[in-house]
């Protein structure tokens, strides 16, 4: 059975893949592919962050009693920052502004990878420990999770 770490780290990879594909299309100036690629990427990111905020973080906070000040709170704040950058990227895709998109993408990349590093290196491992008994159930809920596409 996969752990929460395995499942969520795997989803990071899927998001990265979508990020790279969209960025490459923008760099090539292939705006049709860029638009579709960016949409896929945004949906993957929205879903990933929502799974954390609506399924995993709550369970972790309940189990540890760390609500409002713990590691999950910091991750939530960083999610807000990433959503902000992704929204700006959407504007850049709509405007077909290559430089703006690539600059934002680079900024998001550094932000997102540090964020992932902290989740994969620490938070998910802590979740594996404290949420071990409910892991199967939580992963099933994550799997079934869908976000309304914007």
């Amino acid at each position: 059975m996969p752990t929460i770490s395995d499942y969520m780290s795997g989803d990071h990879k899927a998001c990265d893949e979508a990020f790279a594909r969209a960025e490459e299309s923008v760099a090539k100036g292939d705006w049709a592919a860029a638009e579709a690629g960016f949409k896929t990427y945004k949906r993957a990111m929205d879903r990933h962050m929502a799974m954390e905020e609506e399924v995993l973080f709550g369970a972790f906070e309940e189990e540890t009693g760390m609500r409002g000040a713990g590691p999950t709170e910091v991750m939530r704040q960083e999610h807000v920052q990433m959503h902000g950058l992704i929204d700006e990227m959407k504007t850049a895709v709509d405007a077909k502004d290559k430089n703006e998109y690539l600059g934002l993408a680079e900024t998001l990349l550094v932000m997102m990878q540090q964020h992932n590093l902290k989740e994969e290196g620490m938070l998910y491992q802590m979740m594996d420990q404290v949420l071990a008994s409910q892991a199967g159930d939580l992963i099933a809920r994550c799997n079934a999770f869908e976000v309304a596409s914007a």
Partner: protein, 431 residues
């Protein structure tokens, strides 16, 4: 306690790393000036006074400067452990390192014993404070992961390098201290194979997959590799110290093999990267790893040959310092400083307001120009090690130009940051 490690808001103010990053290229320019002034003598032997001065301007003034600044910034992210009292620590370490390096280089260049003594009194406390702060940070890590383990080895290597260095400086100035000749090889050995090499390995594990979206380093490699390098360094050191030829040779060859292997694996991962957009940092890393291959070959040759020519050691030093370490650190600076500018402005404005993205602090064009200047200077410096009469001064000019461009680029980032900062403060006051 756990949240402290995860909280990016505990990152030190931008002035903490920025002062290290902006000082560093100035030391390279100074080294280039000495090279221009003394010309071919610089490349004659690693023991020449001007050579020792230049090596320390680069190793302490640039490499240690950037690495310490980056560690103060990156430890919270890489290891989940903030440095305590970042402001005061940065003051003491940056001040001591800057003045101490100037004093040491001048002391070595002019044979001034008084200056060497001053250097010891400045550098010793600077490193003591830095090592204490780094130890305090590592002692509080929430998860003892592979990066943290490598950082512990790096800490040990810094301590050993500094102790040997202080010992050498003390025996030159206060002398006649008990002096062991092997220390003249052990000091740079621990500096490059230990401190610098292990730090590059530890950082590479995280940032190579991160920036280019490459596959991760093989799990088996990340687990044992850094320890194996450290063990080989210990074997080489013991062999050098005890003049046990077999052990020294085995350790030296193992080091060459490990570092060449690391370079090949890194180049292979980068070849398989998922992120295909052009990236200056990637170019710098590739030059660094190719130089590491060349350096491993040159090192192997120098330990296998009975009486290697003096130019061999000079060539090795050039390839390692300019080719490997300066490439990798410059590439990292172009990611770290613009990101920090964005990050701190973003944290200041709060949510919902846009601040310039990374490329708006520094365009790709300026980074690229510095990359080509750097690459050309690496070739000329390596050439000057072999043909000093013809190439030492052109190499010095290009080396200085590359450093000036780097400094200019970093100043551009900080100026754009400051403009935005004032703009945002003005906007905040108006409300």
């Amino acid at each position: 306690m756990v949240s402290a490690g995860l909280n990016l808001e505990q990152a030190p103010p931008i002035s903490v790393p920025a002062r290290f990053f902006l000082t560093a290229p100035a030391f390279v320019m100074l080294a280039a000036l000495v090279m221009l002034w003394r010309g071919p003598e610089v490349f004659g032997s690693r023991w020449a006074p001007e050579t020792l001065a230049i090596v320390h301007l680069l190793a302490l003034g640039f490499l240690a400067m950037v690495m310490i600044g980056a560690l103060m910034q990156m430890l919270p992210v890489l290891a989940g452990a903030p440095i305590p009292w970042p402001g005061p620590v940065a003051h003491v370490v940056h001040g001591g390192l800057t003045l101490g390096t100037l004093s040491l280089a001048a002391g070595l260049l002019f044979g001034e014993i008084m200056l060497l003594k001053v250097a010891v009194w400045l550098l010793a406390p600077a490193f003591l404070v830095f090592l204490a702060a780094m130890a305090a940070s590592l002692a509080r890590v929430p998860v003892f992961n592979i990066t943290v383990r490598i950082m512990v080895l790096v800490w040990l290597a810094i301590a050993v390098t500094v102790i040997f260095g202080l010992w050498l400086a003390a025996s030159r100035s206060w002398g006649p201290a008990p002096f062991d000749w092997s220390m003249r090889n052990l000091h740079p050995g621990w500096g490059f194979f230990g401190w610098t090499g292990l730090l590059v390995i530890g950082v590479a594990y995280q940032v190579v997959p991160m920036f280019q979206m490459t596959p991760p380093y093989p799990g088996a490699m990340t687990r044992w590799f850094a320890m194996a390098v450290f063990a080989a360094l210990l074997a080489w050191s013991a062999g050098t110290w005890q003049e046990a030829g077999g052990l020294r040779l085995a350790g030296a060859l193992a080091l060459a093999l490990f570092y060449a292997g690391f370079a090949l694996v890194t180049l292979d991962l980068q070849r398989r990267r998922r992120r295909r957009v052009p990236d200056v940092t990637l170019l710098f890393w590739r030059v660094g790893m190719l130089s590491l291959l060349v350096a491993s070959l040159a090192w192997t040759a120098s330990v296998l040959v009975d009486d290697p020519p003096a130019s061999m050691a000079v060539f090795l030093g050039v390839v390692v310092i300019a080719g490997v370490v300066m490439s990798v650190t410059s590439g990292m600076l172009y990611k770290i400083l613009p990101f920090l500018a964005w990050f701190h402005l973003q944290a200041r404005t709060g949510m919902g307001r846009q601040v310039p993205n990374m490329r708006q602090y520094l365009g790709e064009g300026l980074q690229r120009r510095q990359f080509w200047l750097h690459l050309a200077s690496v070739f000329l410096l390596a050439g000057a090690a072999l043909w000093p009469m013809a190439l030492s001064r052109p190499a010095a000019l290009l080396f200085g130009a590359s450093a000036a461009q780097l400094l200019w680029n970093l100043i551009c980032v900080m100026q754009a940051y400051r403009r935005q900062f004032l703009l945002l403060s003005g906007a905040a006051d108006a409300h």
